[in-house]
Amino acid sequence: MKLTPKILEIDPATTTERIKTFIKDFVEKTEAKGVVLGLSGGIDSSTIAALSALALGGEKVIGLILPEDETYNRTDIEHAKLVAQKFHFKTVEINITPVLEAYYKTLPIFDDKERMSKGNIKARVRMIYLYYYANKLNLLVCGSSDKSETMMGYFTKWGDVAADVSPIMDLYKTQVRQLAKHIGIPNEIIAKPSSPNLWRGQLAEKELGMKYETLDLVLYGLEHFIATQEIANQLNLDIQLVESIKKRWIAMEHKRQMPLSLKLTYRTVGKDFRLPYTR
Protein backbone atom coordinates (compact mmCIF):
# COMPACT_ATOMS: atom_id res chain seq x y z
CA MET A 1 0.00 0.00 0.00
CA LYS A 2 1.46 3.32 -1.10
CA LEU A 3 0.52 6.27 1.09
CA THR A 4 0.12 8.92 -1.60
CA PRO A 5 -2.65 11.53 -2.09
CA LYS A 6 -4.19 9.22 -4.70
CA ILE A 7 -5.19 6.76 -1.99
CA LEU A 8 -7.41 9.43 -0.42
CA GLU A 9 -9.29 10.12 -3.62
CA ILE A 10 -13.04 9.56 -3.38
CA ASP A 11 -15.73 9.39 -6.01
CA PRO A 12 -17.38 12.69 -5.07
CA ALA A 13 -20.57 12.17 -7.08
CA THR A 14 -21.37 8.78 -5.51
CA THR A 15 -20.34 10.00 -2.06
CA THR A 16 -22.59 13.04 -2.39
CA GLU A 17 -25.55 10.87 -3.35
CA ARG A 18 -24.92 8.45 -0.51
CA ILE A 19 -24.71 11.23 2.08
CA LYS A 20 -27.84 12.94 0.75
CA THR A 21 -29.78 9.66 0.92
CA PHE A 22 -28.49 9.07 4.44
CA ILE A 23 -29.58 12.50 5.70
CA LYS A 24 -33.01 12.23 4.08
CA ASP A 25 -33.53 8.70 5.39
CA PHE A 26 -32.57 9.64 8.95
CA VAL A 27 -34.84 12.69 9.01
CA GLU A 28 -37.75 10.63 7.67
CA LYS A 29 -37.23 7.73 10.06
CA THR A 30 -37.04 10.02 13.09
CA GLU A 31 -40.04 12.03 11.84
CA ALA A 32 -38.14 15.27 12.32
CA LYS A 33 -39.06 18.39 10.36
CA GLY A 34 -35.52 19.04 9.17
CA VAL A 35 -32.07 19.81 10.51
CA VAL A 36 -30.34 22.60 12.40
CA LEU A 37 -26.59 23.02 12.24
CA GLY A 38 -23.89 25.36 13.41
CA LEU A 39 -22.38 27.43 10.62
CA SER A 40 -18.87 28.69 11.20
CA GLY A 41 -18.09 29.67 7.63
CA GLY A 42 -15.51 26.88 7.52
CA ILE A 43 -15.35 24.00 5.07
CA ASP A 44 -16.93 21.25 7.19
CA SER A 45 -20.03 23.10 8.30
CA SER A 46 -20.47 24.72 4.87
CA THR A 47 -20.30 21.30 3.21
CA ILE A 48 -22.70 19.63 5.60
CA ALA A 49 -25.16 22.53 5.40
CA ALA A 50 -25.09 22.42 1.61
CA LEU A 51 -25.52 18.62 1.56
CA SER A 52 -28.45 18.90 3.99
CA ALA A 53 -30.11 21.52 1.79
CA LEU A 54 -29.53 19.38 -1.30
CA ALA A 55 -30.99 16.35 0.50
CA LEU A 56 -33.98 17.95 2.20
CA GLY A 57 -34.58 21.22 0.41
CA GLY A 58 -33.34 24.51 1.88
CA GLU A 59 -36.62 25.20 3.67
CA LYS A 60 -35.90 22.28 6.02
CA VAL A 61 -32.43 23.48 7.01
CA ILE A 62 -31.55 26.17 9.54
CA GLY A 63 -27.96 27.33 9.92
CA LEU A 64 -27.13 29.02 13.21
CA ILE A 65 -24.30 31.54 12.96
CA LEU A 66 -23.07 31.93 16.53
CA PRO A 67 -20.22 34.42 16.72
CA GLU A 68 -18.70 35.90 19.88
CA ASP A 69 -16.71 39.10 20.26
CA GLU A 70 -13.28 37.65 21.05
CA THR A 71 -12.95 35.63 17.83
CA TYR A 72 -15.39 37.68 15.74
CA ASN A 73 -14.44 37.40 12.07
CA ARG A 74 -16.57 39.17 9.52
CA THR A 75 -15.19 37.14 6.61
CA ASP A 76 -16.28 33.88 8.25
CA ILE A 77 -19.80 35.22 8.74
CA GLU A 78 -19.89 36.40 5.14
CA HIS A 79 -18.76 32.95 4.04
CA ALA A 80 -21.54 31.30 6.08
CA LYS A 81 -24.13 33.59 4.51
CA LEU A 82 -22.70 33.03 1.05
CA VAL A 83 -23.23 29.27 1.40
CA ALA A 84 -26.77 29.81 2.73
CA GLN A 85 -27.57 32.04 -0.22
CA LYS A 86 -26.14 29.62 -2.74
CA PHE A 87 -27.90 26.56 -1.31
CA HIS A 88 -31.10 28.39 -0.33
CA PHE A 89 -31.39 27.71 3.38
CA LYS A 90 -32.20 30.01 6.28
CA THR A 91 -29.68 31.37 8.75
CA VAL A 92 -30.09 32.95 12.15
CA GLU A 93 -27.24 35.01 13.59
CA ILE A 94 -26.96 35.22 17.36
CA ASN A 95 -24.03 36.75 19.19
CA ILE A 96 -23.37 34.49 22.19
CA THR A 97 -20.99 36.89 24.00
CA PRO A 98 -23.44 37.84 26.82
CA VAL A 99 -23.98 34.16 27.66
CA LEU A 100 -20.25 33.46 27.64
CA GLU A 101 -19.62 36.45 29.90
CA ALA A 102 -22.20 35.16 32.34
CA TYR A 103 -20.22 31.93 32.60
CA TYR A 104 -16.90 33.75 32.96
CA LYS A 105 -18.36 35.92 35.70
CA THR A 106 -20.08 33.18 37.71
CA LEU A 107 -17.47 30.42 37.57
CA PRO A 108 -15.56 30.70 40.89
CA ILE A 109 -12.41 29.16 39.42
CA PHE A 110 -12.55 30.92 36.04
CA ASP A 111 -9.11 31.66 34.61
CA ASP A 112 -9.13 33.99 31.63
CA LYS A 113 -5.57 33.03 30.64
CA GLU A 114 -6.26 29.31 30.34
CA ARG A 115 -7.50 29.22 26.76
CA MET A 116 -8.61 25.61 26.42
CA SER A 117 -11.16 25.47 29.24
CA LYS A 118 -12.44 28.89 28.27
CA GLY A 119 -12.62 28.02 24.58
CA ASN A 120 -14.53 24.82 25.30
CA ILE A 121 -17.28 26.89 26.98
CA LYS A 122 -17.84 28.53 23.59
CA ALA A 123 -18.28 25.23 21.77
CA ARG A 124 -20.59 23.90 24.49
CA VAL A 125 -22.72 27.05 24.55
CA ARG A 126 -23.17 26.75 20.78
CA MET A 127 -24.32 23.17 21.36
CA ILE A 128 -27.01 24.46 23.76
CA TYR A 129 -28.29 26.91 21.14
CA LEU A 130 -28.42 24.17 18.50
CA TYR A 131 -30.30 21.78 20.77
CA TYR A 132 -32.77 24.48 21.79
CA TYR A 133 -33.69 24.96 18.13
CA ALA A 134 -33.81 21.20 17.64
CA ASN A 135 -36.14 20.60 20.59
CA LYS A 136 -38.38 23.58 19.97
CA LEU A 137 -38.81 23.08 16.23
CA ASN A 138 -38.55 19.27 16.06
CA LEU A 139 -35.28 19.34 14.12
CA LEU A 140 -32.23 17.13 14.26
CA VAL A 141 -28.81 18.53 14.99
CA CYS A 142 -26.62 17.70 12.04
CA GLY A 143 -22.95 17.47 13.01
CA SER A 144 -20.09 18.41 10.73
CA SER A 145 -17.16 16.63 12.36
CA ASP A 146 -14.76 15.02 9.90
CA LYS A 147 -12.68 11.86 10.33
CA SER A 148 -9.33 13.63 10.77
CA GLU A 149 -10.44 15.69 13.75
CA THR A 150 -12.56 12.88 15.18
CA MET A 151 -9.66 10.41 15.12
CA MET A 152 -7.35 13.00 16.66
CA GLY A 153 -9.92 14.00 19.28
CA TYR A 154 -9.50 17.54 17.97
CA PHE A 155 -12.88 18.79 19.15
CA THR A 156 -14.70 19.78 22.32
CA LYS A 157 -16.23 16.86 24.18
CA TRP A 158 -20.04 17.44 24.25
CA GLY A 159 -19.41 20.62 22.27
CA ASP A 160 -19.00 20.93 18.50
CA VAL A 161 -19.14 17.13 18.14
CA ALA A 162 -22.57 16.89 19.81
CA ALA A 163 -25.16 15.98 17.19
CA ASP A 164 -27.89 13.50 16.32
CA VAL A 165 -26.25 12.50 13.08
CA SER A 166 -22.75 13.08 11.67
CA PRO A 167 -22.86 12.39 7.93
CA ILE A 168 -19.22 13.22 7.07
CA MET A 169 -17.53 11.70 10.11
CA ASP A 170 -16.11 8.93 7.91
CA LEU A 171 -14.32 11.34 5.55
CA TYR A 172 -10.86 12.75 6.15
CA LYS A 173 -10.44 16.51 5.83
CA THR A 174 -8.78 16.22 2.42
CA GLN A 175 -11.73 14.08 1.29
CA VAL A 176 -14.20 16.68 2.58
CA ARG A 177 -12.33 19.17 0.41
CA GLN A 178 -12.96 16.98 -2.67
CA LEU A 179 -16.62 16.74 -1.75
CA ALA A 180 -16.88 20.50 -1.10
CA LYS A 181 -15.40 21.25 -4.48
CA HIS A 182 -17.77 18.85 -6.20
CA ILE A 183 -20.94 20.34 -4.70
CA GLY A 184 -19.80 23.89 -5.37
CA ILE A 185 -18.67 25.31 -2.03
CA PRO A 186 -16.91 28.58 -2.91
CA ASN A 187 -13.16 28.23 -3.31
CA GLU A 188 -12.27 30.85 -0.73
CA ILE A 189 -13.97 28.66 1.92
CA ILE A 190 -12.18 25.49 0.78
CA ALA A 191 -8.80 27.19 0.61
CA LYS A 192 -8.75 29.08 3.91
CA PRO A 193 -6.90 27.52 6.87
CA SER A 194 -9.15 25.50 9.22
CA SER A 195 -9.70 26.77 12.74
CA PRO A 196 -11.94 25.73 15.65
CA ASN A 197 -11.92 29.47 16.59
CA LEU A 198 -11.90 28.86 20.31
CA TRP A 199 -9.46 31.77 20.59
CA ARG A 200 -8.11 34.36 18.21
CA GLY A 201 -5.46 33.08 15.80
CA GLN A 202 -6.01 29.39 16.60
CA LEU A 203 -5.05 27.27 13.57
CA ALA A 204 -5.83 23.55 13.23
CA GLU A 205 -2.76 22.52 11.25
CA LYS A 206 -0.45 24.39 13.61
CA GLU A 207 -1.97 22.66 16.63
CA LEU A 208 -2.04 19.23 15.01
CA GLY A 209 1.61 19.63 14.03
CA MET A 210 1.30 19.02 10.29
CA LYS A 211 -0.67 19.76 7.15
CA TYR A 212 -3.91 17.82 6.69
CA GLU A 213 -2.47 16.34 3.49
CA THR A 214 0.15 14.53 5.61
CA LEU A 215 -1.98 13.90 8.69
CA ASP A 216 -4.67 12.21 6.61
CA LEU A 217 -2.13 9.84 5.11
CA VAL A 218 -0.79 8.96 8.57
CA LEU A 219 -4.33 8.33 9.81
CA TYR A 220 -5.18 6.33 6.68
CA GLY A 221 -2.14 4.16 7.35
CA LEU A 222 -3.18 3.61 10.98
CA GLU A 223 -6.75 2.86 9.88
CA HIS A 224 -5.38 0.17 7.55
CA PHE A 225 -3.15 -1.47 10.19
CA ILE A 226 0.12 -0.21 8.64
CA ALA A 227 2.99 -0.20 11.17
CA THR A 228 4.12 3.23 12.36
CA GLN A 229 7.68 2.62 11.11
CA GLU A 230 6.37 1.90 7.61
CA ILE A 231 4.19 5.03 7.68
CA ALA A 232 7.15 7.13 8.83
CA ASN A 233 9.38 5.67 6.10
CA GLN A 234 6.86 6.17 3.33
CA LEU A 235 5.98 9.74 4.31
CA ASN A 236 9.52 10.66 5.31
CA LEU A 237 8.41 11.60 8.81
CA ASP A 238 10.07 11.23 12.17
CA ILE A 239 8.92 7.93 13.74
CA GLN A 240 8.30 9.75 17.04
CA LEU A 241 5.83 12.04 15.32
CA VAL A 242 3.89 9.13 13.82
CA GLU A 243 3.95 7.35 17.18
CA SER A 244 2.58 10.45 18.88
CA ILE A 245 -0.31 10.61 16.40
CA LYS A 246 -1.11 6.95 17.03
CA LYS A 247 -0.96 7.50 20.79
CA ARG A 248 -3.27 10.48 20.56
CA TRP A 249 -5.75 8.64 18.33
CA ILE A 250 -6.05 5.81 20.88
CA ALA A 251 -6.02 8.07 23.95
CA MET A 252 -8.93 10.14 22.61
CA GLU A 253 -11.39 7.22 22.48
CA HIS A 254 -13.09 8.62 25.60
CA LYS A 255 -14.24 11.58 23.50
CA ARG A 256 -15.86 9.33 20.91
CA GLN A 257 -17.96 7.10 23.14
CA MET A 258 -20.63 7.17 25.82
CA PRO A 259 -19.09 7.64 29.29
CA LEU A 260 -17.29 4.56 30.57
CA SER A 261 -19.64 2.53 32.73
CA LEU A 262 -18.89 -0.25 35.17
CA LYS A 263 -20.43 -3.63 34.53
CA LEU A 264 -22.50 -4.37 37.62
CA THR A 265 -25.58 -6.23 36.45
CA TYR A 266 -26.96 -8.44 33.66
CA ARG A 267 -27.14 -6.02 30.70
CA THR A 268 -25.14 -2.82 30.79
CA VAL A 269 -25.78 0.39 28.85
CA GLY A 270 -22.83 1.19 26.62
CA LYS A 271 -21.43 -2.35 26.89
CA ASP A 272 -23.63 -5.33 26.13
CA PHE A 273 -26.98 -3.63 25.82
CA ARG A 274 -26.94 -3.49 22.04
CA LEU A 275 -29.75 -1.88 20.14
CA PRO A 276 -29.85 -0.31 16.68
CA TYR A 277 -30.60 3.31 15.83
CA THR A 278 -34.00 4.30 14.44
CA ARG A 279 -36.56 2.28 12.55
Partner: protein, 276 residues
Protein backbone atom coordinates in the same frame (compact mmCIF):
# COMPACT_ATOMS: atom_id res chain seq x y z
CA UNK B 1 -39.58 -27.35 -16.12
CA UNK B 2 -36.70 -26.45 -18.40
CA UNK B 3 -37.32 -22.77 -18.84
CA UNK B 4 -39.06 -20.41 -16.44
CA UNK B 5 -39.11 -16.83 -15.20
CA UNK B 6 -37.94 -15.68 -11.81
CA UNK B 7 -38.40 -12.39 -9.95
CA UNK B 8 -35.43 -10.94 -8.07
CA UNK B 9 -36.92 -8.59 -5.52
CA UNK B 10 -34.69 -6.25 -3.54
CA UNK B 11 -36.70 -4.53 -0.84
CA UNK B 12 -36.20 -1.85 1.78
CA UNK B 13 -37.24 -3.50 5.04
CA UNK B 14 -38.74 -1.70 7.97
CA UNK B 15 -36.46 -2.84 10.74
CA UNK B 16 -38.08 -5.13 13.30
CA UNK B 17 -41.52 -4.81 11.73
CA UNK B 18 -42.53 -8.19 10.34
CA UNK B 19 -46.10 -7.14 9.62
CA UNK B 20 -45.05 -4.30 7.31
CA UNK B 21 -42.38 -6.40 5.59
CA UNK B 22 -44.73 -9.34 5.01
CA UNK B 23 -47.33 -7.01 3.49
CA UNK B 24 -44.71 -5.64 1.15
CA UNK B 25 -43.51 -9.13 0.22
CA UNK B 26 -47.09 -10.22 -0.50
CA UNK B 27 -47.57 -7.25 -2.84
CA UNK B 28 -44.43 -8.20 -4.76
CA UNK B 29 -45.44 -11.87 -4.99
CA UNK B 30 -48.69 -10.80 -6.64
CA UNK B 31 -46.82 -8.55 -9.06
CA UNK B 32 -44.33 -11.31 -9.88
CA UNK B 33 -47.12 -13.80 -10.57
CA UNK B 34 -48.72 -11.29 -12.97
CA UNK B 35 -45.38 -11.20 -14.77
CA UNK B 36 -45.50 -15.01 -14.95
CA UNK B 37 -42.61 -15.66 -12.60
CA UNK B 38 -42.51 -19.13 -11.04
CA UNK B 39 -40.07 -18.14 -8.32
CA UNK B 40 -39.65 -14.93 -6.37
CA UNK B 41 -36.57 -14.27 -4.25
CA UNK B 42 -36.26 -11.79 -1.36
CA UNK B 43 -33.05 -10.78 0.49
CA UNK B 44 -31.39 -12.13 3.61
CA UNK B 45 -33.46 -11.48 6.78
CA UNK B 46 -36.15 -9.89 4.62
CA UNK B 47 -38.91 -10.37 7.17
CA UNK B 48 -37.14 -8.33 9.86
CA UNK B 49 -34.37 -6.25 8.29
CA UNK B 50 -30.68 -6.99 8.79
CA UNK B 51 -29.46 -4.84 11.70
CA UNK B 52 -31.39 -6.21 14.65
CA UNK B 53 -28.80 -6.51 17.38
CA UNK B 54 -30.50 -7.53 20.67
CA UNK B 55 -33.96 -7.15 19.13
CA UNK B 56 -33.31 -10.40 17.29
CA UNK B 57 -34.19 -12.37 20.43
CA UNK B 58 -37.77 -11.14 20.15
CA UNK B 59 -38.02 -11.50 16.37
CA UNK B 60 -36.67 -14.97 15.69
CA UNK B 61 -39.29 -17.64 14.98
CA UNK B 62 -39.32 -21.38 14.59
CA UNK B 63 -39.81 -23.05 11.22
CA UNK B 64 -42.65 -23.86 10.83
CA UNK B 65 -44.01 -20.83 12.64
CA UNK B 66 -46.24 -17.80 12.13
CA UNK B 67 -44.14 -16.20 9.37
CA UNK B 68 -43.66 -19.41 7.40
CA UNK B 69 -47.37 -20.20 7.68
CA UNK B 70 -48.26 -16.72 6.39
CA UNK B 71 -45.89 -17.07 3.42
CA UNK B 72 -47.12 -20.61 2.71
CA UNK B 73 -50.62 -19.18 2.32
CA UNK B 74 -49.38 -16.59 -0.19
CA UNK B 75 -47.34 -19.19 -2.11
CA UNK B 76 -50.32 -21.57 -2.34
CA UNK B 77 -52.70 -18.82 -3.40
CA UNK B 78 -50.36 -17.48 -6.09
CA UNK B 79 -49.00 -20.90 -7.10
CA UNK B 80 -45.41 -19.76 -6.73
CA UNK B 81 -42.08 -20.63 -5.19
CA UNK B 82 -40.81 -18.07 -2.66
CA UNK B 83 -37.31 -17.79 -1.19
CA UNK B 84 -36.67 -15.36 1.66
CA UNK B 85 -34.44 -14.89 4.69
CA UNK B 86 -35.51 -14.82 8.33
CA UNK B 87 -34.03 -15.26 11.80
CA UNK B 88 -34.88 -18.82 12.78
CA UNK B 89 -35.31 -19.86 16.39
CA UNK B 90 -34.17 -23.40 17.14
CA UNK B 91 -37.08 -25.62 18.17
CA UNK B 92 -35.16 -27.24 20.98
CA UNK B 93 -33.98 -24.08 22.74
CA UNK B 94 -35.29 -20.64 23.61
CA UNK B 95 -32.44 -18.41 22.46
CA UNK B 96 -30.46 -20.25 19.78
CA UNK B 97 -30.95 -18.54 16.43
CA UNK B 98 -29.93 -19.27 12.84
CA UNK B 99 -29.68 -16.93 9.87
CA UNK B 100 -31.89 -18.94 7.55
CA UNK B 101 -33.05 -18.99 3.93
CA UNK B 102 -36.47 -20.60 3.46
CA UNK B 103 -37.90 -22.16 0.31
CA UNK B 104 -41.67 -22.39 0.08
CA UNK B 105 -43.54 -23.79 -2.91
CA UNK B 106 -47.10 -23.90 -4.24
CA UNK B 107 -47.66 -26.96 -2.02
CA UNK B 108 -46.17 -25.36 1.08
CA UNK B 109 -42.87 -25.52 2.92
CA UNK B 110 -40.05 -27.19 0.94
CA UNK B 111 -36.86 -26.65 2.91
CA UNK B 112 -34.37 -24.32 4.48
CA UNK B 113 -30.68 -23.50 4.61
CA UNK B 114 -28.91 -22.21 7.73
CA UNK B 115 -26.05 -19.83 6.91
CA UNK B 116 -22.70 -21.55 7.34
CA UNK B 117 -20.32 -18.58 7.25
CA UNK B 118 -21.29 -15.86 9.70
CA UNK B 119 -19.35 -12.62 9.19
CA UNK B 120 -18.03 -11.28 12.47
CA UNK B 121 -15.63 -8.54 11.48
CA UNK B 122 -15.82 -4.88 10.49
CA UNK B 123 -19.47 -3.85 10.99
CA UNK B 124 -20.73 -7.44 11.12
CA UNK B 125 -21.53 -9.21 14.38
CA UNK B 126 -23.34 -12.35 13.24
CA UNK B 127 -21.48 -14.89 15.37
CA UNK B 128 -22.63 -13.02 18.43
CA UNK B 129 -26.24 -13.72 17.52
CA UNK B 130 -26.38 -16.78 15.28
CA UNK B 131 -25.38 -20.39 15.45
CA UNK B 132 -23.84 -21.53 12.20
CA UNK B 133 -25.46 -24.07 9.91
CA UNK B 134 -23.69 -27.30 9.01
CA UNK B 135 -24.77 -28.44 5.61
CA UNK B 136 -26.10 -27.00 2.37
CA UNK B 137 -29.03 -28.91 0.89
CA UNK B 138 -30.34 -29.32 -2.62
CA UNK B 139 -34.10 -29.28 -3.09
CA UNK B 140 -35.72 -31.03 -6.02
CA UNK B 141 -38.65 -29.00 -7.25
CA UNK B 142 -40.63 -28.66 -10.44
CA UNK B 143 -38.39 -25.69 -11.31
CA UNK B 144 -35.23 -27.75 -11.00
CA UNK B 145 -32.70 -28.63 -8.35
CA UNK B 146 -32.15 -25.57 -6.16
CA UNK B 147 -29.44 -24.79 -3.65
CA UNK B 148 -29.39 -21.79 -1.35
CA UNK B 149 -26.49 -19.87 0.15
CA UNK B 150 -26.46 -16.63 2.14
CA UNK B 151 -24.29 -13.56 1.54
CA UNK B 152 -20.80 -14.19 3.01
CA UNK B 153 -21.08 -17.87 1.99
CA UNK B 154 -20.31 -16.70 -1.55
CA UNK B 155 -16.72 -15.96 -0.41
CA UNK B 156 -16.27 -19.70 0.21
CA UNK B 157 -16.34 -21.55 -3.11
CA UNK B 158 -16.64 -24.93 -1.41
CA UNK B 159 -20.27 -24.31 -0.35
CA UNK B 160 -21.43 -23.61 -3.91
CA UNK B 161 -19.26 -26.45 -5.20
CA UNK B 162 -20.77 -28.89 -2.72
CA UNK B 163 -24.28 -27.84 -3.75
CA UNK B 164 -23.31 -28.39 -7.38
CA UNK B 165 -21.87 -31.81 -6.60
CA UNK B 166 -25.11 -32.64 -4.81
CA UNK B 167 -26.85 -31.90 -8.10
CA UNK B 168 -27.92 -28.24 -7.93
CA UNK B 169 -28.47 -26.55 -11.29
CA UNK B 170 -29.54 -23.25 -9.81
CA UNK B 171 -27.92 -21.47 -6.86
CA UNK B 172 -29.73 -18.71 -5.01
CA UNK B 173 -27.64 -16.34 -2.92
CA UNK B 174 -29.67 -14.02 -0.69
CA UNK B 175 -27.72 -11.18 0.80
CA UNK B 176 -27.53 -8.06 2.96
CA UNK B 177 -24.39 -6.41 1.69
CA UNK B 178 -23.48 -2.80 2.50
CA UNK B 179 -22.13 -0.47 -0.17
CA UNK B 180 -18.37 -0.67 0.40
CA UNK B 181 -18.42 -4.41 -0.40
CA UNK B 182 -20.08 -4.23 -3.80
CA UNK B 183 -17.00 -5.11 -5.84
CA UNK B 184 -16.48 -8.35 -3.89
CA UNK B 185 -19.99 -9.55 -4.60
CA UNK B 186 -20.01 -8.47 -8.22
CA UNK B 187 -16.87 -10.52 -8.77
CA UNK B 188 -17.67 -13.56 -6.64
CA UNK B 189 -21.25 -14.13 -7.80
CA UNK B 190 -20.00 -14.42 -11.40
CA UNK B 191 -17.15 -16.67 -10.29
CA UNK B 192 -19.47 -19.10 -8.44
CA UNK B 193 -21.72 -19.36 -11.52
CA UNK B 194 -18.85 -19.98 -13.96
CA UNK B 195 -16.77 -22.38 -11.87
CA UNK B 196 -19.82 -24.57 -11.27
CA UNK B 197 -21.62 -24.12 -14.59
CA UNK B 198 -24.84 -23.14 -12.83
CA UNK B 199 -27.37 -20.36 -12.84
CA UNK B 200 -26.91 -18.04 -9.89
CA UNK B 201 -29.45 -15.53 -8.65
CA UNK B 202 -28.12 -12.92 -6.23
CA UNK B 203 -30.68 -10.85 -4.33
CA UNK B 204 -29.42 -8.10 -2.06
CA UNK B 205 -31.13 -5.81 0.43
CA UNK B 206 -31.59 -2.07 -0.18
CA UNK B 207 -32.17 0.84 2.19
CA UNK B 208 -30.24 2.17 5.17
CA UNK B 209 -30.11 0.43 8.53
CA UNK B 210 -28.07 1.84 11.39
CA UNK B 211 -25.75 3.76 9.05
CA UNK B 212 -25.25 0.80 6.67
CA UNK B 213 -26.37 1.48 3.13
CA UNK B 214 -27.31 -1.71 1.28
CA UNK B 215 -26.61 -1.43 -2.41
CA UNK B 216 -29.11 -3.71 -4.15
CA UNK B 217 -27.77 -4.57 -7.59
CA UNK B 218 -29.47 -8.00 -7.56
CA UNK B 219 -28.62 -10.08 -10.61
CA UNK B 220 -29.29 -13.32 -12.43
CA UNK B 221 -26.12 -14.84 -13.85
CA UNK B 222 -25.96 -17.50 -16.56
CA UNK B 223 -23.58 -20.48 -16.32
CA UNK B 224 -21.28 -18.74 -18.82
CA UNK B 225 -20.96 -15.76 -16.45
CA UNK B 226 -23.20 -13.47 -18.45
CA UNK B 227 -25.44 -11.17 -16.42
CA UNK B 228 -28.94 -11.94 -17.70
CA UNK B 229 -30.64 -9.14 -15.75
CA UNK B 230 -29.52 -6.70 -13.11
CA UNK B 231 -31.57 -4.56 -10.73
CA UNK B 232 -30.92 -0.92 -9.86
CA UNK B 233 -28.33 0.09 -7.33
CA UNK B 234 -29.57 1.52 -4.00
CA UNK B 235 -33.26 1.47 -4.89
CA UNK B 236 -36.10 -0.92 -4.24
CA UNK B 237 -36.60 -2.88 -7.43
CA UNK B 238 -37.99 -6.10 -8.86
CA UNK B 239 -36.57 -7.55 -12.05
CA UNK B 240 -37.63 -10.57 -14.04
CA UNK B 241 -35.14 -12.92 -15.65
CA UNK B 242 -35.40 -16.25 -17.43
CA UNK B 243 -33.61 -19.44 -16.44
CA UNK B 244 -33.15 -21.94 -19.26
CA UNK B 245 -31.34 -25.08 -18.14
CA UNK B 246 -30.47 -25.92 -21.73
CA UNK B 247 -27.69 -23.34 -21.58
CA UNK B 248 -25.81 -25.37 -18.95
CA UNK B 249 -24.81 -28.01 -21.51
CA UNK B 250 -22.57 -25.96 -23.80
CA UNK B 251 -20.79 -24.46 -20.79
CA UNK B 252 -20.17 -27.89 -19.25
CA UNK B 253 -18.65 -28.96 -22.55
CA UNK B 254 -16.39 -26.01 -23.31
CA UNK B 255 -15.73 -24.63 -19.81
CA UNK B 256 -15.52 -28.13 -18.32
CA UNK B 257 -14.78 -27.19 -14.71
CA UNK B 258 -16.82 -30.11 -13.39
CA UNK B 259 -15.06 -32.65 -15.61
CA UNK B 260 -11.71 -31.32 -14.45
CA UNK B 261 -12.30 -31.32 -10.69
CA UNK B 262 -9.36 -32.97 -8.86
CA UNK B 263 -10.79 -34.80 -5.82
CA UNK B 264 -7.34 -35.70 -4.50
CA UNK B 265 -6.69 -32.14 -3.31
CA UNK B 266 -9.77 -31.99 -1.06
CA UNK B 267 -8.27 -34.12 1.71
CA UNK B 268 -5.23 -31.88 1.82
CA UNK B 269 -7.44 -28.79 1.77
CA UNK B 270 -9.27 -30.13 4.81
CA UNK B 271 -6.07 -30.89 6.71
CA UNK B 272 -4.43 -27.57 5.85
CA UNK B 273 -7.49 -25.52 6.74
CA UNK B 274 -7.66 -27.20 10.15
CA UNK B 275 -4.11 -26.07 10.87
CA UNK B 276 -4.27 -22.50 9.58
Amino acid sequence: MREFKIALTQIVCERANKRVNLQKMEKYVEQARKKEAKLIIFPELATTGYVLRDQIYELAETIPGTTVTAIEKIAKREGMYIIFGMPELSEKTQMVIYNTAVLIGPEGYVGKYQKMHLPTHSVFEEKRYFRQGYSPQVFETEIGKLGMIICYDVFFPEVSRLLRLKGAQFLVCISASPAVRRHFFETLTVARAVENAVFLAYVNLVGIENGLQFWGGSRLIAPNGKIIVQAKYNKEDMIIGTVDYLSIKPVEAFVPTLRDIRPEIFQELKERSEKL
